[in-house]
Symmetry: C2
Subunit: 215 residues, 2 copies
DNA sequence: CAGCTAAAGTTAGCAATTCTTACATTCATT
DNA sequence: AATGAATGTAAGAATTGCTAACTTTAGCTG
């Protein structure tokens, strides 16, 4: 029944010839939910309100999504695609192997969190969506892969090297935590956007700088 | 009206003489909600279910809490007290000024997240509770204060020193991010608890180690 | 082009939830 | 004992998640 809809068509036929009943409701619902999550918080969202915004009845969404969680997963999936793209283009804006490239990946991450705190929180706060969604897990790992690649280039080691993996994870942890703390309680120390770059460079230098073997 | 109940009595008269109508419902509701949040996820909680578990009618909770958000805030407040205590006792278990003391604070943080992922997520994922709750903000800053103190002792500087603040924030970001990533997607790199200490020490060393002035 | 099928939408409705209002009970103090 | 405030219940309004049954339209086929 609703098996193929789980993964999402990804490309909604771009332009449906003559506007179905509605057009393509799926994308519009995801957009509406994204907006709701952003303005009213991750829990201040309802399928009914999303349907209302899309101009359809409250039962229509269930033709496209199994349940409310699947809609949220759709939002998360779309958001992760954008996050991934932002991270990649952040890295690409600097010389391969430079600390700046690493910092830029982190900056893209933080920028995303700042720009869409509600969605960001949803992406990483979704609990019951993650288990049944291997595609989301993979997208998460792809994002981590961008960090790994930048770190590997910086250390001039293979991405599979455990030292690279470990350091990349440390960097990711910092950026992830910084993003959350920033949007959560906008701590004084990390209030201004200007500070981000300084922080990111400092941490990248501290973690990737002098290679000291552990163990 | 519901002003004094915001902060919570903290000690509920210990043992009410002959069991009021109920005993002390407030603490029991918080406990029930904490359990629900832990088992069914942060969103899988309902006032009705909590009341059911406490053996009272579904309207009873509203005599103690203004609305469902205030109950959650109660859970968060209680959880932050425990987190704060754990962090302090973690630091106290090691020599003042040692890197181990810093790492132990982080370890306590991570342990909490692992032990109560649902509550942990609730504490830092609560959106509509934070604005109207300056006491929660303060408790959060108190937790940060533990990190600052440990870092200050380690660097032999005053806690107010900007260098201390900045480095403490970086450490906190890492631990915070690591905690989230661990419970979110239990990334392979950070699966075993044994790794925590190694990570924490490595980061503490990298951040607090050689004092290099920035700017 | 008629006609069939499946997709995509609607209306109606159930069960559950949040929160309010009005009422009942019990504690604690005088 | 009697009263006032705290604490509970019962009942109900509004909203939501989701299902069932029905209708419309798109797109294919003969």
């Amino acid at each position: 029944m609703a098996d193929k809809t789980t993964v999402a068509p990804a490309e909604p036929r771009v332009t449906p010839k003559s506007a179905y009943h509605h057009g393509d409701l799926r994308a519009q619902l995801i957009a509406a939910v994204r907006d709701l999550v952003e303005t009213h918080g991750p829990d201040g969202f309802s399928v009914a309100e999303a349907a209302r915004r899309a101009g359809v009845s409250s039962a229509a969404p269930y033709k496209h999504f199994k349940d409310r969680h699947e809609i949220l997963r759709g939002v998360v999936s779309e958001a992760m695609d954008r996050l991934h793209a932002a991270m990649r283009s952040g890295a690409a804006a600097h010389a391969t192997g430079s600390l700046e490239a690493v910092a830029a990946v982190g900056q893209a991450y933080v920028n995303f969190a700042r720009a869409e705190p509600g969605v960001f929180r949803l992406v990483f706060g979704l609990t019951e969506g993650h288990e049944n969604a291997p595609d989301l897990l993979k997208k998460g790992e792809n994002c981590f892969g961008v960090v790994v690649e930048a770190a590997a280039a910086c250390l001039e080691l293979a991405p599979q090297h455990p030292d690279v993996q470990r350091r990349a994870y440390i960097l990711w942890s910092f950026v992830h935590g910084h993003s959350f703390l920033t949007i959560d309680m906008k701590h004084k120390v990390a209030s201004a956007e200007v500070d981000d770059w300084q922080y990111l460079m400092e941490v990248a230098r501290a973690i990737l700088g002098p290679v000291e073997r552990t163990g």
